[in-house]
């Protein structure tokens, strides 16, 4: 056999193996590049959960810890697999990174603090513990995260278009109020999937629960908030329209000096 032929054959084989490897990596659910989130429940995870989370979220993750009674909004009940802040479509389970992000950044306007006092490894170790509380993770896989695309630049026109959607097309004011203060006519009677009363969000506070960047707010319209009455408008609004609405609700934020007056 010619040395050149051998070279070609080796080339083919290595190309095949390489493409397989690329595909294998590509088809796995994407994990955070910076931090490795364990797949199985570890002792460390159990200990961290028991020490830092169970007081509010309960030993079995049912949101019924001893401190939970005095809290509004109530700590999340993990047994149904309903997570509010996700990058996945409406109803889907969250990705591991979504859970990790909520633990790390916390939820403003609630008692959930950013758990940056824990190390990254400790935060990551809690993720499989939370997932183990719900049988939903045995039946379903999280859907692929939604594509955000290129954000639109906010202008007066986009804010005006967003206002039209807010007031006429979707009638968001029915729950969130005309001025976005969360005091619409349907606001008082809303409850979450667990039967607890829930207040529509007050946009004027500016502390968006899922994150303050425009793409975070855009994601809330696209994915909805699982376990709450807030639906997804992915089928209802085009990509551009969701950006318009994002710009409008962000324009409702009032600076602290204004709200003091």
């Amino acid at each position: 056999m010619k040395p050149k032929g051998l070279f070609y054959k080796a080339g083919f084989l290595s190309a095949a193996v390489f493409s397989c490897a690329v595909l294998s990596v590509g088809m796995r659910p994407t994990t955070a590049s910076a931090i490795e989130i364990p797949k199985e429940v570890t002792e460390e995870g159990k200990n961290v959960y028991k020490k830092y989370c169970s007081a509010c979220h309960g030993e079995e993750g049912a949101g019924d810890g001893p401190v939970s009674r005095s809290m509004i909004p109530k700590p999340r009940n993990f047994t149904r697999g309903a997570y509010k802040f996700r990058t996945t479509p409406s109803g889907s389970l969250p990705t591991d990174e979504d859970i990790y992000k909520t633990i790390s950044y916390g939820v403003p306007n609630s008692t959930m603090i950013p758990w940056d006092i824990l190390t990254e490894e400790q935060r990551a170790s809690v993720v499989p513990v939370l997932k183990s509380f719900s049988e939903a993770f045995e039946f379903r896989e999280p859907d692929a995260p939604v594509a955000i695309g290129l954000p639109l630049r906010p202008t007066e026109r986009t804010i005006l278009e967003g206002k039209k959607i807010y007031e006429e097309k979707l009638e968001c004011w029915k729950c969130h109020g005309v001025e976005g203060r969360g005091d619409g006519p349907s606001a008082g009677e809303q409850e979450d999937d667990f039967g607890f009363p829930i207040k529509p969000f007050d946009f004027t506070t500016g502390k968006f629960k899922g994150g303050n960047s425009p793409s975070d707010v855009y994601l809330r319209f696209t994915t909805g908030l699982n376990g709450t009455p807030m639906p997804s408008f992915a089928k209802e609004l085009s990509d551009e329209e969701r950006w318009y609405l994002t710009h409008y609700v962000m324009s409702l934020v009032q600076s602290e000096e204004c709200s003091k007056e």
Binding site: F12, M27, A82, E141, E189, G224, M230, P231, S232
Partner: protein, 242 residues
């Protein structure tokens, strides 16, 4: 030759990946057999309570004009024979029987004048349901399920959303804006029925044996009865809610 081997390796890895990413979840034990001379069950679900005054689920309707306000009824009782509408009757412990057919025409749940029509839908696992909005205002469709993927979508006038229900479960479908709801009951076998306006139900082609016949109503609750099915015989069963 080497190219073929490379291609084979490639295809093998590819298949493994697909299998890995989409694990097939096996369904609970129901085996399909050929039922040629099965028996059947017919009967009525009745309520002996005060049939003249069914409890009403008043629709808030703060926004609709007066004539279009409707009342949706949690309990609908026929005044002639006290038959209860929208009760779901099923064989709870059947392990083998006829093959269930998933309808190619999707069952429809429409929102008209703020209420869901029909209020109760029973389907076989794997069925796709079409959700519609027939009102000129925004509704939402919100399910709270664990096994089937829940969803919550805004629905504008004439919008249609198709959703699959793959696992047996009782799913509550609600519109949070108008505080209305409906029920979707998913079964793993085809032996179920929803009572009509006179409370009548029928279930056919059941293999011989002893079964538990169950009835469920959203307000009146559950009842169970044992039935013995004989070949080519019709059993008449009456469920009575006190």
């Amino acid at each position: 030759m080497i190219r073929t081997v490379s291609l084979c390796i490639f295809v093998l890895f590819f298949c493994c990946d697909i299998l890995y990413s989409k694990e097939l979840v096996t369904e609970d034990a129901y085996t399909v057999i050929d039922v040629s001379d099965g028996g059947s069950i017919t009967g009525h679900v009745t309520c002996t309570g005060d049939a003249g005054a069914p409890s009403l689920d008043m629709y808030a309707g703060w926004e609709l004009s007066k004539p279009s306000q409707v009342v949706s009824e949690k309990i609908v009782i026929n005044r002639l024979n006290n038959g209860v509408r929208n009760a779901v009757v099923s064989l709870s412990n059947i392990e083998k029987g006829k093959k269930g057919v998933v309808p190619s025409v999707h069952p429809v749940i429409d929102q008209q004048m703020g209420i869901f029509l029909p209020r109760v839908t029973a389907i076989l696992a794997g069925t796709t349901i079409d959700l519609l909005n027939g009102d000129e205002e925004l509704h939402n469709v919100h399910t709270k399920s664990v096994r089937n993927q829940p969803f919550n979508f805004g629905m504008s006038y004439k919008q249609r959303i198709s959703k699959d229900f793959d696992y047996p479960e009782t799913v509550k479908l609600s519109c949070d804006i108008h505080k209305e709801y409906a029920w979707i009951v998913v079964f793993s076998n085809p032996y179920f029925d929803v009572t009509d306006r006179s409370g009548y139900f029928e279930i056919c082609d059941i293999p011989e044996g002893t079964y538990e016949l169950r009835v469920w109503h959203e307000e009146l609750g559950k009842q169970e009865k044992e039935v013995i099915i004989q070949a080519r015989k019709r059993e008449n069963i009456a469920f009575v809610y006190e």
